[in-house]
């Protein structure tokens, strides 16, 4: 079934692809700029024909407003858990307590669960090993890393992030 596309989605994709071309090329002569337009149009047409552009294709349209508070928070979390993991590794006794914990994730769109699972893995000390529906299985290097992850702030924040996505 063909997905219904809005003009905004198509335009956003075209702008993103052309911006990528400009950044990676670095040559701003008429010919190369025109070639960029040609390939952008080509890619967009192929994308539409292959039906690749769905509600997840250009999610930034929905996330742009909220993602700017999430990213800095995530970076701080990553730094904190990196320091914790570094302390464990450099400790002569190597105080690890590997655990696998199962818990319910609050996000329920595909994109929300993807962001949540990847955010968990991105913070050292926790790796998402399996996701089925709302079931998240997380392997943790030490007990504290996983303590209260179900009621944790990341769970809540990603849930808030995905609000307003289509097919929520």
């Amino acid at each position: 079934m063909k997905t219904r596309l809005t003009l905004t989605q198509i335009l956003a994709l075209a702008v993103a692809i052309y911006a990528m071309w400009l950044v990676l090329s670095g040559h701003y002569t008429g010919l190369l700029l025109a070639l960029g337009v040609v390939s952008t149009v080509g890619v967009v047409l192929v994308t539409i024909r292959m039906d690749l552009l769905d509600h997840e294709g250009v999610p930034l349209l929905h996330l742009t407003a909220r993602v700017w508070t999430y990213i800095p928070w995530l970076i701080v979390e990553v730094v904190k858990s990196n320091l914790a993991a570094t302390r464990v590794i450099l400790d002569p006794k190597l105080p690890i307590s590997p655990t696998i914990v199962r818990f319910r994730g609050k996000p329920h769109t595909d994109l929300g669960r993807f962001i949540f699972a990847n955010s968990i893995t991105l913070t050292p000390g926790t790796i998402t090993v399996a996701v089925t529906g709302a079931d998240f299985h997380v392997h943790a290097l030490f007990w504290e890393a996983i303590d209260g992850i179900e009621e944790g702030e990341m769970n809540r924040r990603v849930r808030a992030l995905e609000k307003g996505l289509p097919n929520e």
Partner: protein
């Protein structure tokens, strides 16, 4: 000059975390715990190194490209870590676990086997 010093602080601390990750990979007992150690290099090690290099590049196109590398790295490395962990679990590697949370390992293996095709079936 100030930027140079700042840049070297970032590069040196990036190198430090890379080293820690290497030490961690050698010290950890099994594949799952090693992945945690390798994660340090993917996240903080790479980020600090890239920030250091961006400071060297100044406000140029090179800095933008470095930022793109950072973004792509933070998108792809958790996916890779997850794939390795899931593949190991499906391949029958028994993780060393200290505190078992009920049937954590069994249900994780089952969930890894099912993947997300069975959406909703386990809710």
């Amino acid at each position: 000059m100030v930027i140079d010093i700042l840049s070297w602080v970032f590069l040196a601390s990036g190198a430090f975390f890379m080293l820690v990750a290497g030490v961690g990979v050698l010290r950890m007992p099994d594949v799952f715990t090693r992945l945690h150690a390798a994660g340090i290099k993917d996240t903080l090690g790479a980020a600090l190194t890239i920030i250091g290099l961006m400071l060297q590049a100044g406000l140029t196109l090179v800095a933008v490209k470095l930022a793109l590398i950072w973004i792509f790295l933070w998108f792809t490395s958790p996916v890779a870590s997850h794939s390795v962990a899931r593949a190991a679990l499906l391949g029958g590697v028994r993780p060393i676990l200290q505190q078992t949370d009920g049937d954590g390992l069994e249900s994780a293996t089952e969930s890894a086997r099912l993947g997300d095709d069975q959406e909703g079936s386990s809710r």
